[in-house]
Symmetry: D2
Subunit: 140 residues, 4 copies
């Protein structure tokens, strides 16, 4: 079954580029993070800052992030971002971001995140818990 | 005569906020910079990355920047940005950015920039030159 | 009476520079903020993340920030930073940062901050309170 | 044969942390990048901004970056960074960054970079070229 894809556009800013005139690598990880929040908002119908309350979780912390830089992005480039959850596991999931410029894939990002809740016996701590089936269903 | 105002919207991202849960101050200066590029694009009809070529300038470098933080901006806040050139002088100008949340002014920014071109006798250097009347006219 | 000055060095990073090859303006405001934390640590002998607890305050939030860019800073430049409280008022103060490269003043920054504590009747809110005389004394 | 390791310390800044009170993920990629420049400076004895001229290259652009977040880093944390080239291939190499807090590994980063030079027949373009043996030798 096809996965829910959220699409958005990003126009590269001057301050996001380095002396080589291309987007500095860390900026893509900012873009991936925000794209994940927007993907969840689109799929779940819940505002990012209300996600914790809506599902009784601490959040969806990142445990692993990767990017593959195929082509550079330059100041003024119009970048099309397509984000989806590539895989749901019991308490973790993979978010895939594909960034294209002029119809060509330029940067790929993959984030591994966990569905994290406060520990019931020790509320100061939190850890990965099972992702509700209703959440997974919304991404299909 | 009323000045040309460019309006845009900024939705505050998670990664732009600090441990107090509010936008970290340096982020506003990123927003001001990008807002100035977009103001010039809207007024002049020239893409930001083509501005130098279109007017035979190096750019519009910043010589002074200020921000006044009246109310904090939080993750998920929808910020309305209104940007305009508050004053044109011979070779410099003031850009004013007013950021509002829920209809209330939250942050004010003022940038002083110069219209900078390469030095004719020494192309390695550049300095402030007179702003063309046609440019000034576009902001009215 | 001379004011306490904290000095530190900053070597400009590649990722802090823009396509013009110079430090992007917002980066200076990151540097000012960190310089203020380090100034307070040096003057008060309290680690930045323990400042709130040590003085029963929420923090020292920024209400106004300004920078004057006299000379650009480039990748690899060794920037000498001298920070001091230029003025203490009842509940607010001005921090001045002077950034020099090769012995010449390159960038000046001024931050206006407040000494902020939780409201006694409504702990959800906070506001500016009088700066303790012992704190002011440490900066002389 | 053991690989050359460069060590440095990073004290986590307020502005590098997010509303969860921990370092925002993109900041680690800034730290990795700067750590690579410093590793090369230490191994080769060449200032980062002189690397291109010294070896007749465009630079060492990033083609892939990964991070594994084992433990969070918080404001004020003293992070020990150990960086080394984990592998040299013909024209590309892997840089490994290990970030420890209180003696425990907290974040691992791996960057894949290429040794890039201008194309001899078309100087507008550049591509990966063989890494000089003398460069590889300096990292042993």
């Amino acid at each position: 079954m096809a996965s829910f894809i959220n699409r958005r556009q990003w126009i590269v800013e001057w301050g996001q580029c380095d002396p080589a005139g291309i987007v500095f690598n860390s900026r893509f990880f900012e873009v991936f993070d925000q794209s994940t929040w927007l993907l969840f908002e689109a799929a779940l119908g819940v505002k990012p800052h209300e996600l914790g309350t809506a599902y009784n979780i601490v959040g969806i912390p990142l445990v692993d992030a990767r990017a593959n830089f195929l082509k550079p992005a330059k100041f003024g480039d119009v970048v099309e971002i397509a984000s989806q959850v590539a895989e749901f596991r019991r308490s973790s999931f993979e978010v895939e971001h594909r960034l294209s410029i002029d119809g060509e894939l330029a940067i790929e990002g993959i984030e591994t995140r966990v569905w994290a809740a406060h520990n019931k016996t020790n509320p100061e701590k939190f850890g990965a818990v099972a992702i509700p089936a209703e959440v997974v269903a919304r991404f299909k």
